[in-house]
Subunit: 206 residues, 2 copies
Amino acid sequence: MRISELVQRSGVPLATVKYYIREGLLMPGETTSATQARYSEAHVRRLNLIRALTDVAGLPLQKAGIVIGLIDHPQPNLFDTLGKAVAALPPYADAGEADAPDYPRAKAALEKLGQVYDPQYAAVAQLERALAAAASVGMAISDERLLGYGEQIMRITEFDIDAVPTDTVHDAIEHSVLGTALYEPIILAMRRLAHQDLAARRFGGG
Amino acid sequence: MRISELVQRSGVPLATVKYYIREGLLMPGETTSATQARYSEAHVRRLNLIRALTDVAGLPLQKAGIVIGLIDHPQPNLFDTLGKAVAALPPYADAGEADAPDYPRAKAALEKLGQVYDPQYAAVAQLERALAAAASVGMAISDERLLGYGEQIMRITEFDIDAVPTDTVHDAIEHSVLGTALYEPIILAMRRLAHQDLAARRFGGG
């Protein structure tokens, strides 16, 4: 298809499409003349992906580029690739925290949950900040709630891992990286709606 | 305490503290002379709250102001107040979607889950966008996964609702609003760590 049709199909403005190509987020079209190029379904899908990562998952464009780079050029193993992709997802730790030697709240929580504590994981710093923020306003998580959350979250994660296709490494990586980024907004929206559902039944209203 | 101590205790720079007071996010200190004011623990706590909402939950300052306004001046009932607070949390729907008449994906999902569908809920639009984004990159959620998620999320939500203090309406609202905003980053970080834990066991690495 021509670039005008790509713009129409994707809903992404022409200037933005050209910008994504210049920045390496979108692959160039196949040149058909000095002034024209041909685009394919792969371009539509890539534009959907950029939009999903930036608009819905809330990544800044530069971080979306990192995630797309990991899908296009995965690390040798799934585990390393996923770790790097998670580090590109919000919320972002402040630069000042990068050399923090230890994450005491996250460490204690993971010990209670029986999970490995590895301060290299980006999500450990994210958990530390989230636990500290809740505690700083007098809402520290109780052990009972932590363990209750942990049990349900591990079940959710089992669904996620079972859904990962194992045909090719590329498919597995693409699915895992996108599943982490794109299913988070689904889970948050579902929790908010579950809150409203339960609150309506218990406290009236609605 | 004097403002210099408030700056030191909270870690928030002086210019930022003054800005928050001007914008109405932080209550002014008690005036003790023409040039001095006295601040209390309530000011430290409020600064922690602003930081938790903006840095950790990722709200822009203007949206954090809406949430704080709802805590300071709640609506007559908890249900309405929570609904307004949820609308102030990311991800934000585009302006163009505000008048969307219907949310077909969210509606179908909520029917399957046996939950009320009310297009007025901000989280319905959020769910619609999240489901559409996953589908747009070929990762539409399966019914099995939706129902599996739904069951675990409803259990998480029961922990949340049981934790709401019922002493005063103010406490209940503050806890509910902050619990929605501040426990989301905890849940996401826990899911990412659960992924790494399971992936390490199934796919090696780490």
